[in-house]
Every structure is written in C-alpha cells, then in structure tokens.
Amino acid sequence: MAKKILVIDDEELIIKSLRKLLEKNGFAVFIAKNGQDALVMPEEENFDLIIADIRMPGMNGVETVESINENLKKRNLKKIPIIFITGYADDAIKQKAETLKPVAYIYKPFDIEELVNKVKEILK
C-alpha cells in the first residue's frame, strides 16, 4: 500500500509540483492549503509523513504541526515524522520546530533527489 504524505503549503505552484513529484515516486499525496485545513485531516487519514512550509499566512507551519501533534497525543497516537520545506526560518521558529521530533529540513529551492531520498529514508 502506498505511503500517505500530507503536504501543507499555501503556494499553488509548490503544491502542484510536489504532488507530481511524489505521486511519480509512488506516494499517495494529500493537500492542505493552510494550517486550518491541515488540522482537520489527520483524523481521517493516518499519514506517514507531513511535508510543510514554515512561512504561511495565518497559522505558520510549526504551529500547525504542533497542533496536529497535540491532537495525536490526545488520541494516544504516535507522532508523524515531519519535513519542513522552507526558504529560510528565523532562529526562534527553528528552535521551536526542533521540539517536534522526528523532524528534517529541506531548503527551497531543492533538488528533487534530495527530497525524494529524504522521504524514502524516513518512510523506510
């Protein structure tokens, strides 16, 4: 069964590109266009990985993942691994992101190999 990946990003170009890339590599891709949308999804789908943008209008990526983890914790579910895709992140946000382990970073713009390898490594 294909592994399920949740992509949270506000940028249509990124969403479309990631969907193509990941689906081509045999993953099932779910999309949330902002934090709020993402929060309601993990309950329905049992995601294997979350790929999130950090800087987003409204709720940022770190806050979104925090909330998702809290929800999982409430239901005694295991934390989902996270890959943050980001242009740059200031130190405060990055520090906060470190607490959400397991976590990895990929900096935009990335090579597809880098992302695909990272995803495969986490989902091994």
Binding site: E11, L13, I14, K16, S17, L18, K20, L21, K24, R55, P57, G58, I85, G87, Y88, K108, P109, F110, D111, I112, E113
Partner: protein
C-alpha cells in the same frame, strides 16, 4: 590836544593808507586763525602776539597817513605806532624761542627783551628824544617821521635783537635732525629775514630819502609764511583762510571806496554841521553793519560750501551703505563717493583675500590694472595696519613718524602710483586699502578732504567687514545646503535600500516558491522516465507560470529600489500609482506577517502631484512599515487602512493603523532626527525626520494624530497639480 585828535575834520581819506590797513586786517586775521587752531599751544599764542603787534603798528601808521596836520600825525606815531614798533622784535624773539621749544628756559630773556624796547618807548614819550618833534614830514603818501639821534641806539638794539634771533634759528636749523622741523625752521629763517627788512623800512628816512615805506608787504609775507608752516602740519586750510580774508577785504573795499568818494563830495558841505557829520557816521555804521550781517556770512558760506557738501555726501554715503550688502556694489559706492568729491585721477581698492593671504584689486577707476595683487607681508601694509592712519605721500619725507617706514612707503606709492593710502582696519586687521592718485585739478588734498576721507574710511571699514562676513556666511550656507541636500539624497536612498534589506526575507520567500517549482519540474523532466505527454506539458506550464512570477518580483524590486540618478527626478506623478507600487512590493513582507493593506481611493481620479517619486515612495514605505510595527506590537495580524482624497488645492493621504499608538509625551518629538522608540540596532530614527523634510520640500504637510493602544493616523497633504496649471517645478537641488 585830545580834542584835535578826536575831531574827524583833522583826518582825510588817504588812498595810501588803504593797503596798509588791509595788510593790518589780514595779519590780525591770520593771527586769530592760528590762535583758533590751538588756543593752548604757546607757539600759537606767541604767533598771535606777534601778529597783534605788527597789526597794531600797521593800523596806527595808517592813521598817521590819514592825519591832516603834523601835530595829529606826531601824536599817533609817538604814542601808538612807536609802541607797535618796539613790540615787534620782542614778540618775534618770543616766537622764535617758543618755536624752538626753549620758552621755559629763556623766559627771562623774553621779559628783558620786552622791557628794553619798552624803556625806549617810555624815553620817547617822556623826552621826545627819538622821534624829533616837528621833524615829521609830509610825503606823497602822508606824514612820516624823521628819527632823531637817539633812534640810532634803538636801531643798534633792534639789529642786535635781530641777529640773536637769526643766529638762534640758524643754530637750531643746523642741529635739527627731524626733517619736518628742519623744513619749518628753514621757512621761519627766511621769514625772519623778511621781517627785518619790513621793520627797517624807516631807514631811508635817515638819509632823507622819500621812499614809500613798503615794510608792511614783507611783513605780511612773513606772517603768512609762518602761519602756513605752523598750520600746515595740523590743518591744510590756510589757503581757505587766505582766500577768505582777501575776499573780505575786497568786498569791504567795495563799500569803503564809494564811501570815500561820497565823503569827499559831501565834506565841504558838512564841515560846519555836527548833525551832518553825525548822520554820516551813522550811515557808515549802518553800511558796516550791513556788510557784517549780509555780505560777510555769504562769503563765509561760499568758503564753507565745499565742506558742507562733503558732509552731505558723507551722510548720504552712510545711508547707502546700510542697503548695500554685496561687496562689489559696496566698493563701487565707495569709489563714487570719493570720485564725486575729491576728483582723484585714480582710485584703486584692494581687498584682503583670506585664502591667498594677499590683497587683490577689487576695483579701480583709471588706475593701473597691472598691479592686481599686493603681497600680504608688504612692509608698508603691515605698518599701516598697525597705525591705522591715512598716509599722504607728501608727508613721508618731512614727518618723523614715517621715519621707519619711509622706504617701504615710497616703494608702495611708486608701485600703486598713488599719493594717498587709506587703510581699512578693523581690530588691527587690514581688510583692505584705498589708493588715491593726484587730484585732477592738481591741487593738494586739504584738511577738509582728509576729514571727509576719515569719515568715509570708518564707514567703509565697517561696511566692508560686514559684507565680507555676510558673503562668507552666504557662501558657507550655500556650501552646507548643497552638502545637506546631497546627504539627504543619500539618506533617502540608504533608507530605501535598508527597507529593501528589511523586506529581503519576504522577497526571498516570494522568489523561492517559483524557483522551487521551476527546479522541481525541470529536474522531473530531465529524469529519464516514460514519456507522458500530459504530465510533461503540465510541468512546462508550471515552469512558465513560475518564471513569470519571478519576472514580476524582479520588476517590482527594480522599480522600488531605483538608481540614485532616477531618484533625483522631479515630475508629475499619480500618487495612487506610487502608493500601489509601494504596497505591492511591501505586501511580500506584510503578508508573511499577517498584515493587510486596505486602500480606499477613487479609481478614476488621477491624484496628480509634482514631486520626486522615489522620495514620496520612501515616505509611504516608512509610514506603512511603522504602522506594521505598531500593529505587531499588540497583535498578530491587522489591517493598515490607507485613504486618498482630494479637494481643490490638496491631495491628502491618510494612513491609519490600530496599533500601539504614540504616547502624548513623545508625539512632538517623533519627527526629530535620531528620535526612535525602537530598540538599539533596529533603526536609526531618521525615518520620520526624513519623511518630514521630504514632504516639506514638496511644499506639503505631514501630521499625526494618535491615541495610546488605539492607533495612529498619519496624514500627508501635498499640493495638487490642477488641470492646465502646472505649479512651478520644485528644484531638485533645493
């Protein structure tokens, strides 16, 4: 006897007495003039006494000429004329002594010199031994006495006195080192010789020669020469006095001569009538009074006229100076004032040049323009700066105070072809120097001229000093303003670039997304895999869209951070467009920080203002970013409301936020340079101060209303460009 003397019928009008009377009046006038120059100087007093005795001698001998009878003539000669005669030599001696500065030492000699002649006088009036009675003869010019044997003794004494005087003068002439004094003594020596000849005009009578006694002429010459040499070094108006006196005498004789003929004509008829004689005297009195009241003041005025003109010109000059600020104007006015009054052939004005440490010819009237610079260390200029006196070339040789600078001064005058140098000295600093050439009429510069020049000098010095200061300040202000404008331009640009820096995160993020999309899709296409036309086309579309996005961002960035060259352009611009230009760029950042901008404006309106787009955009950027910061201090997200409105004259932009607001205590300071509420390192505090200066430069107004915890409203007002009327372009440099 006294009855006869007082009886006017015993006198007649004798024309030969007229020149004598005139000489007498002239000599007395000169004496009085010299005394007036310095009433306390013993020299002037001695000179006056000398004039007095000569005048007494001459005026009484003229009465002798007027006498009809021997008795009367003898009376006048013995009691009066002889008194004058004996007094001449002692007074000349006294004068010579005071002149050579020996009066205190030779006081007793002076007294003895007076006593001996007085003894002769007493001898004469008590014994008739000198002037032999009834030996007074009638010559064609009137009665004149024959001296008796005792007169020989008097004559010997007279000669001894003369030789003492002469020797005295000769010795002091030999020993005198000061050139002025030498010159004066030389004049005096010759004059004394004249005086001797004058006083000895009675000599021919010893030999029964009927020679007209012309002694009064050399005597007059003597007095005039001496007076001139006394006065010359203090005042130069002796010429005026001489002219004036001659004018008096001439005009007076216009009355005197007709009166004489009138008298001649009526005298046979009135000889017996006391009343007629009284009437005649009264008429004479009125004629004299008329002369003194009506004619003499006119003469005086005539000679004073030039002086009063000088005063008028000098006061007008002073008034003018108040209104002249430019140095060149001022210098031309000074030249005019001097040229119009003194008619010098040349005028040259040199002004000190601080940078080159020399004096530069500022302007010249017919003076040589070859000499343009005078060295600052010129010996004469250094000297004149210290002494601050007008220097007249004529005096350099004869006045001891120029002894040290003689050569330097001569060189200076040769170099500048001038004969008068007027220093403009303030606080021992020589600001400049005015050089005058000879007068066009070749006359000497008079005391009145120098008086005038001194007044001009003082006024000109202050005016030139002010003008130099003023020009200096003007120049400095110009320079500083230029620097400030330049610095401000740089500041605006620096602020702008700093904003770009602040916003770099937003921009990077904004570019990163399309870049990521491009890279991902390109790499997918490159990766060898089964060809899927549908998917490949989708990738290419994504790449195109992403690339276009990048292009837009780059264009906006370029538009925002213009080059400094474009930055200084002033043009008509649409304020709404400028605002949109700013917000579309700022939005990259603001969106990241959850801040929205809401613009309220009429889309059909042009909001035209005249200004520098770069600067106005900078103002908007600053205020919008400030609003963002104010909001972020109290909440996570918010809206910045911007509204544009216009009335007939103004375009108004209101930028309001619901942020922290500004405390009342600091609201008056927020436009001050370097005032900031941000923490150290977050801002220089130049933002709003630059905004204010930009808006003021655009003839606009920036104001703020604020309430703590409620928010702030910044309002910018700019003059509207009305249709068809383009306001005068703002100067990009101003």
């Amino acid at each position: 006897m006294l009855e006869q003397v007082l009886n006017t019928t015993n006198y007649y009008l004798n024309p030969y007495s007229l020149p004598v009377i005139l000489a007498s009046i002239l000599i007395l006038s000169i004496g009085l003039f010299v005394l007036k120059q310095n009433k306390k100087s013993i020299i002037n007093i001695a000179f006056f006494l000398q004039c007095l005795s000569v005048s007494f001698w001459l005026s009484t001998i003229s009465i002798v000429y007027l006498s009809r009878t021997q008795n009367i003539a003898l009376f006048w000669y013995r009691y009066f004329t002889f008194f004058g005669v004996v007094n001449i030599m002692p007074s000349v001696y006294m004068f010579a002594v005071t002149w050579s500065g020996e009066f205190q030492r030779k006081k007793y000699f002076v007294i003895v010199n007076y006593i001996i002649p007085l003894l002769f006088y007493i001898l004469e009036i008590t014994t008739d031994k000198i002037v032999i009675p009834f030996e007074i003869r009638k010559y064609f010019w009137g009665y004149y006495p024959i001296y008796g044997p005792w007169a020989g003794i008097f004559l010997i004494f007279f000669c001894i006195q003369f030789f003492i005087n002469f020797r005295k003068l000769y010795l002091s002439y030999r020993s005198e080192k000061i050139p002025t004094k030498t010159m004066q003594i030389r004049i005096l020596t010759f004059a004394t010789l004249f005086a001797f000849v004058a006083s000895s005009d009675f000599l021919p009578k010893f030999f029964n020669l009927a020679l007209y006694p012309i002694g009064y002429i050399p005597m007059l010459t003597y007095i005039a020469v001496v007076a001139y040499s006394i006065v010359r070094y203090r005042t130069f108006d002796i010429e005026t006095v001489m002219h004036k006196t001659i004018m008096w005498i001439l005009t007076f004789s216009f009355i005197l001569i007709p009166a004489f003929f009138l008298y001649k004509w009526v005298s046979p008829y009135i000889r017996e009538s006391i009343a007629s004689q009284m009437a005649l005297w009264a008429m004479s009195f009125f004629a004299l009074a008329f002369y003194l009241r009506a004619i003499q003041p006119k003469i005086d005025h005539f000679f004073q006229r030039r002086k009063s003109n000088l005063e008028k010109i000098s006061s007008r000059f002073t008034e003018d100076l108040v209104h002249l600020k430019g140095l060149n104007q001022l210098i031309r006015r000074i030249e005019d004032a001097i040229a119009d009054t003194l008619y010098p052939r040349r005028i040259g004005i040199f002004i000190y040049n601080e940078d080159n440490k020399n004096y530069k010819l500022a302007d010249a009237i017919s003076a040589s323009r070859e000499i343009v610079y005078l060295e600052g260390d010129n010996q004469f200029l250094l000297w004149i700066a210290k002494n601050n006196k007008i220097v007249y070339r004529e005096f350099i040789d004869i006045d001891p105070k120029y002894a040290l600078i003689k050569e330097g001064a001569k060189n200076y005058f040769n170099l500048t072809e001038a004969i008068v140098a007027i220093p403009l000295v303030l606080n021992e600093k020589l600001l400049g120097i005015i050089n005058l050439g000879k007068k066009a009429n070749l006359k000497r510069y008079s005391a009145a001229d120098f008086h005038f020049l001194t007044a001009i000098k003082n006024q000109a010095t202050i005016a030139i000093s002010n003008s130099l200061l003023y020009e200096n300040i003007e120049e400095q202000v110009r320079q500083r303003t230029k620097e400030l404008v330049e610095v401000q331009k740089q500041l605006v640009q620096a602020e702008k670039l700093a904003t770009v820096g602040t916003l770099a995160g937003g921009v990077a993020h904004e570019i990163n997304n399309p870049l990521t999309a491009i890279l991902t899709n390109v790499q997918m296409l490159l990766a060898a895999g089964p060809i899927d036309a549908q998917l490949d086309r989708e990738s290419l579309e994504l790449i195109e869209e992403a690339t276009k996005r990048c292009r837009t961002i780059v264009q906006k960035l370029m538009a925002y951070a213009k080059t400094p060259l474009e930055a200084s352009e002033v043009s008509q611009l649409n304020l709404l467009k400028a605002l949109k230009n700013v917000t579309s760029f700022l939005n990259y950042q603001l969106e990241q920080e959850n801040i929205k901008i809401a613009i309220e404006a009429k889309q059909d309106s042009e909001y035209l203002v005249l200004g520098n787009r770069n600067e106005l955009e900078q103002v908007l950027t600053n205020i919008i970013l400030n609003a963002k910061d104010a909001i972020k201090r109290v909440k996570k997200s918010g809206i910045i409301y911007i509204s544009l409105s216009e009335d007939s004259n103004w375009i108004k932009i209101k930028i309001s936020d619901e942020g922290t607001g500004i405390q009342e205590e600091i609201i008056s300071k927020i436009f001050d340079p370097f005032f900031t509420t941000k923490e150290v390192g977050k801002g220089l505090g130049l933002g709003l101060s630059i905004c204010q200066s930009i808006i003021e430069k655009h003839s606009g107004l920036i104001t703020v209303q604020s309430k703590v915890n409620a928010g702030s409203i910044f309002t910018i007002q700019l003059p509207k460009v009305k249709e068809g009327i383009i306001p005068a372009p703002l100067q990009a440099e101003a």
